[in-house]
């Protein structure tokens, strides 16, 4: 449905490209999970899809047609559910929906039907006359979702839709996104929560510094990760051995644990024997549990992202 080919973008005055040859595909009926730390280029990507930024290099295609052409023909084919509460706080839930329904060009009975459907989908019927400013965080997220779905978009981009909501609302939103995809909508879902991506994404893209680092199904990505051995040996031993066992692979201390990403040709038995031979007492061994978070941290490094 949506295809990005070699998309690149450099902001005026910046030395580093915000997007640097990004290619990805979002298909109808699938959720594409987009992961990346701050500064990865997610916001720039979303701004392109929203029509807020011109394309400098590369292509964005919607069913084979250029994004600009597709947006001109029907701008509501792609909907963005932004991270912010993008509606009018002084208007009621219904008034907000009526406003955005009008903006989407909906009129008469079609408009009433879509508003009723979206209220029901987001379970907001009871709150339809309540001012948006008086809604809880979870209800505001649901209103954001309902507005995005008004024009029956073919692709919805959710930008961190569960930030600051209670676990019940979070579960509700994840279920709603799943059901959208089941009904044939293409979904792009960006978040910092790995477990959400693990729960709903059919395809996962990990980005950093404007580049796609990994793309594939969840199982494909996890199988690509280096075998990881985690040994509970005490803080002193972990710190000491982290610099002595580099030949075994990338080593670092994590509290009282020594974590080794085993290099090719190294087996866990060999690493365990080396640690035991060094005099450290091994109290716990963890091997083979490699998840998305491990891969994400390994790919994007552990340094803090403040930009």
């Amino acid at each position: 449905m949506l295809e990005l080919r070699d998309l690149a973008h450099l902001y005026a005055g910046s030395q580093r490209a915000a997007l640097d040859g990004v290619s990805l595909t979002a298909r109808r009926g699938e959720v594409l999970g987009l992961l990346g730390p701050n500064g990865a280029g997610k916001t720039t990507l979303i701004s392109h899809l929203a029509g807020l930024l011109p394309i400098q290099r590369g292509q964005i295609l919607v069913d084979g047609a250029a994004l600009d052409t597709a947006r001109r023909q029907r701008p509501t084919r792609i909907a963005i559910a932004p991270q912010e509460y993008a509606f009018y706080p002084s208007l009621s839930v219904r008034e907000n929906l009526e406003c955005f329904a009008g903006v989407c060009g909906l009129r008469g009975s079609k408009r009433d039907e879509r508003i009723a459907n979206c209220l029901a989908f987001a379970q907001l019927e009871r709150f339809s006359d309540k001012r948006a400013s008086q809604l809880s965080g979870g209800l505001k997220r649901r209103l954001n979702l309902a507005i995005a779905l008004l024009p029956e978009p073919e692709l919805v981009l959710f930008d961190e839709p569960t930030v600051g909501v209670d676990p019940q609302s979070r579960a509700f939103i994840i279920d709603a996104v799943k059901s959208l995809a089941r009904n044939g909508t293409a979904v792009i879902y960006t978040t910092h929560y790995m477990e959400e991506i693990e729960a709903i994404a059919d395809q996962v893209v990990i980005m950093d510094h404007g580049k796609v680092l990994r793309a594939g199904t969840l199982s494909e990505l996890i199988s690509q990760g280096a075998p990881r051995l985690r040994l509970l040996i005490g803080k002193d031993s972990a710190t000491r051995l982290a610099s002595q066992l580099e030949a075994m692979g990338e080593c670092h201390a994590e509290g009282e644990c020594l974590v080794i990403s085993l290099a090719a040709g190294t087996t866990p038995e060999l690493a365990i024997n080396r640690v035991a031979a060094s005099g450290a007492t091994i109290r716990e061994i963890d091997y083979g549990h490699y998840n998305l978070e491990h891969l994400f941290m390994a790919l994007t490094q552990r340094s803090l992202r403040d930009d």
Binding site: T44, L49, P82, E84, A86, F87, S90, E98
Partner: protein, 392 residues
Amino acid sequence: MRATILLALVRKELLALGRDMHALVSLFLMPVLFIIIMSLALKDVYSPKIGNLPYAIDQQDQGELGSAFTQRWTKVRGTPQASPATRDAAIEQLRQGKLRYLIVIERGFSEDLASPQTPKAVRARVIADPALEYSIFRGTEAELAAMVGELRAEALQERFTGISREGGQSIRLLVAAERLAFGGRPTAVQQNVPAWLVFGMFFVLSAIASLLVQEHDNGTLSRLISLGVSPLTQLAAKGLPYLGVNALQAALMLAVGVWAMPLFGSDGLSLAGINWLALIVMITAISLAAIGMALALASLMKTHAQASTIGPVVNVLLAAIGGVMVPRFIMPPFMQDIAALSPMNWALEGLLAVILRHASVAEIGGDILRLALFGVVMLALATFLFSRRTRA
């Protein structure tokens, strides 16, 4: 399709404005209060009442002409207060404002007035409260000089021709002063209603900027762009409702001037005989200028702090130099030249011409054209700035 979008956005603007108490107060209540307060406070500045000021006459002259003066002055200015025992006591009462002025008729007044010789000394003087308005002070001095001159003329006439005095009517028979009902300087209500109406109309800046900054902050602006709403449609949706708001303001302020001000004991605003077409065209031109400027400035504002401070500051500055707060006609010439640069002044001069001089559309064509041109330039600037802002 485009009409549906525009209608939905206009409705949103009106709903949001209707629930924005600060905006409603600044657009409707504040100008009404300014009209009432300033009209009442400045009533006597525009139309000074001098007949009922407390004054005293220090009569030192024992002659017939001294008594005649007191009789005539009392007839014109009302009964005087009891004269203080000493000159110092009288001056103290003037300083305290208990007396607004003191007329002193010196000893030898009658003798000097009836003598053809050049007077040897001042025989009548007015001493005023330091806070007495300058115009009233000069008016009193002029009236004193006229009355003394008249008495002297009558006394000399009687002495040399034997024809007796006529009771002080001769000057009044010779001189008449007439102020046209429309034209010249306005009354307090005639000045303040248009002035604060213009001020209120330009205050749409705060309301427009406030919602625009909110839309920018919470991503609604991006959402609207992503849904294909063009910057021009968004600007139109923001501007159109305020044409109605400005019209409502005009109707309210004029109604306050016509019907409410008399209830407060002030003169009412008279719209009898005015050219209604000129008034409507003038209000529309002011509205265009105010909304254009509001949209252009609002497109530059990025934060709520800017929206809540820059708007009022710009309005107050334009009002201060534009003759809203201090009427242009009492400004010195160089300030009048500066005032002519403010769109609020074009608006005020045009409205005053319609209300005071019953001007036609052609007669205020210059002001209308300037305002309309200013509005169009501002709208073009707003379109450019807003389009730039909606790019990420």
